[in-house]
Subunit: 373 residues, 2 copies
């Protein structure tokens, strides 16, 4: 393998594949990036067996291709070296004793390489009928749900986002069993068969970090044990969580005692301030009470002090219902809405609290109240 | 105590005094801020017994002074509460059972207060003949030396910066015994008596963070056991380290075998790249060799690879001298120069390496080489 390439071009693509490498991995080959130089251009690949990322630099973007070939080098080192080189032409060349020689006018690095044959074989073949989704819409859907996934490995199924596809609807659901986030988007075409899969949240996070176009689409190829995302010059594969997702529909109440509309910012800021006098050990509990034409939000830490916040209501409500919940969960849930107003619906402390933008049900947030009264 | 004040005004001054509070302090009163409302305005004070900060808000900046008095409240809570209140008028009022009531149109906080009499008595009287120094010049001097202080509490004397004042010169010296930084500034007036004190680095860091004027001066009042800085509306007191500072002058060689001038950025970037192939456990050692018309900087980690960097010299040198040093210390030392070029002088691996800007000796950096050849 021998080529000349601009630092800026190579760096852009190293920035993609470095996200497929976990520095904590104890298996050295999984900390590596594979370079594969063919006539058409340069492929870079990384994988930690949970996620795989493959990117392609077209030959037109490469200054000179002198000798085809493939090499496997430490991802961390090649990334840091190229990052610190100035924006000029970099020579990359395989030399004796399987080393990668990286040179510029003033710098010369020799990096020991791993065996190409030890690098995992990646099956990144596409399916015949991928879903086609607008990048921005997909990214927003993930961002609006991912925070509600569980980080506890004790219930792996909850560490992923559930994708349910039926006809032309994709429903993304995340829950950690204390709260739930659900977003529905409409696809351009219909699927033949219903799909119900669980994608690890941490892999979806990497996908959304790499989505950078507002207009372009991404292709989603779904298989029984993996999902492949294809956009720009990138192919990202994630394994699926092989389990069945809990039926979350039955958790969502359909009738409510209280139904209020509030200004999102006023409500968020009031909760944010009230949460100053809560303790994390006690789940940041705050109380909410409807008082006719305003909401009263309150909290206290006995040894420190007390707080009361008022949020004006646009429509007076008659029911005086008290409810308590985690201020952290409420803030997580409401900050992902883009609307000026939100609708909060609840039945006291027995059943879940539901938050929507009051206009549609395509984005729904659910929080379990905490019984204190 | 009862007053009305704009959030923005109070926040600016809370931002000052919060720096006098260490959250790790186990003595509750040292985590507090004292409010003292007098006819002329509002004083805010904090201290952790190592540093004390006092700021003053003139009555003209206060919307209403209704009742004079003083109160002591938790610094963390009052700071966070005021920070999260919107930019409007805040009412502060002492209420029954020694609580501070903080209200706006929509928010109402009650904070339990501490006993005013438990708050440390601060003697912040000024001396008769303070040093007067330009704020920017003082801040630069501290920034150019503070990184060389030791963070190890085993030799407390090295955790401070040595201020030596003689005639109209202030010399700031910092060393952790592996490297040394020294900066001299010329004062506007002469001192009657030589001064030689050690000021804790962490307190100087807080002082420099609060210095924000390029033109204005600060007053420095020096006592046997404390130093007081006065600038803008602020008074900051730091205790001194009560010990004698090592005589560092004898460490600085006066004759050199090699004397080279290099472009600062080129040299810095070459070392930065070479340090990629060093290990922190081995003090990030890199090698430097003079090769006639260029410098060769090299390093390696056997299992990873090797690096060689060239830095062009403007003037050819005859001596081929090899030397090794910590790349981290060298980068720390050279990045604080403002010049395009730096001068590096050394005698091989026996004696210290000296770095200056080649123009004057008012800023000098010293690094001990590491014997490897």
């Amino acid at each position: 393998m021998k080529l000349k390439i601009k630092q800026k071009v190579l760096m852009e693509h190293l920035n993609y594949v470095i996200k497929g490498i976990s520095n904590k991995n104890l298996i050295p080959i999984l900390n590596c990036i594979k370079f594969d130089l063919v006539k058409e251009g340069l492929y870079l690949m990384s994988t930690d067996n949970e996620i795989a990322i493959k990117t392609f630099i077209d030959a037109k973007e490469i200054d000179e291709i002198d000798e085809l070939g493939d090499m496997v080098v430490s991802g961390k080192y090649i990334y840091d070296i190229v990052r610190k080189l100035s924006n000029e032409i970099i020579n990359l060349e395989e030399i004796m004793s399987s080393q990668l020689l990286i040179t510029t006018n003033t710098s010369s690095f020799k990096l020991n390489c791993n065996n190409v044959s030890d690098f995992p074989k990646l099956d990144l073949e596409f399916s015949k009928n991928p879903l086609v989704i607008n990048q921005q819409a997909f990214k927003t859907s993930i961002n609006q749900t991912i925070f509600a996934t569980s980080t506890q490995e004790s219930r792996p199924v909850l560490t992923g986002i559930n994708f349910k596809i039926r006809e032309n609807k994709l429903e993304c659901t995340a829950t950690d069993s204390y709260r739930l986030a659900r977003k529905e988007i409409t696809l351009d075409s219909f699927v033949d068969q219903d799909i119900n899969i669980i994608v690890p949240a941490k892999n979806l996070l990497e996908v959304t970090r790499l989505l950078n176009s507002e207009e372009d689409n991404l292709e989603v190829h779904i298989f029984t044990n993996k999902i492949i995302f294809n956009f720009n010059s990138l192919i990202i594969m994630s394994r699926l969580i092989n389990d069945s997702y809990p039926d979350t529909n039955k958790l969502i109440p359909t009738e409510f005692l209280v139904n209020i509309k509030v200004n999102l910012n006023n409500f968020y800021n009031a909760i944010d301030r009230a949460s100053l006098l809560t303790s994390e050990e006690e789940k940041n509990i705050i109380k909410l009470e409807s008082k006719g034409d305003y909401l009263l939000i309150s909290s206290n830490i006995p040894e420190i002090g007390t707080v009361e916040e008022r949020v004006e209501l646009e429509t007076k409500i008659d029911e005086n219902v008290k409810i308590s919940f985690s201020s952290k969960y409420m803030m997580d849930a409401i900050k992902i809405f883009n609307s000026d107003e939100i609708e909060i619906k609840y039945n006291g402390e027995i059943k879940p609290i539901i938050i929507t933008d009051g206009q549609s049900d395509t984005l729904l947030q659910l929080i379990l109240p905490i019984r204190t009264y």
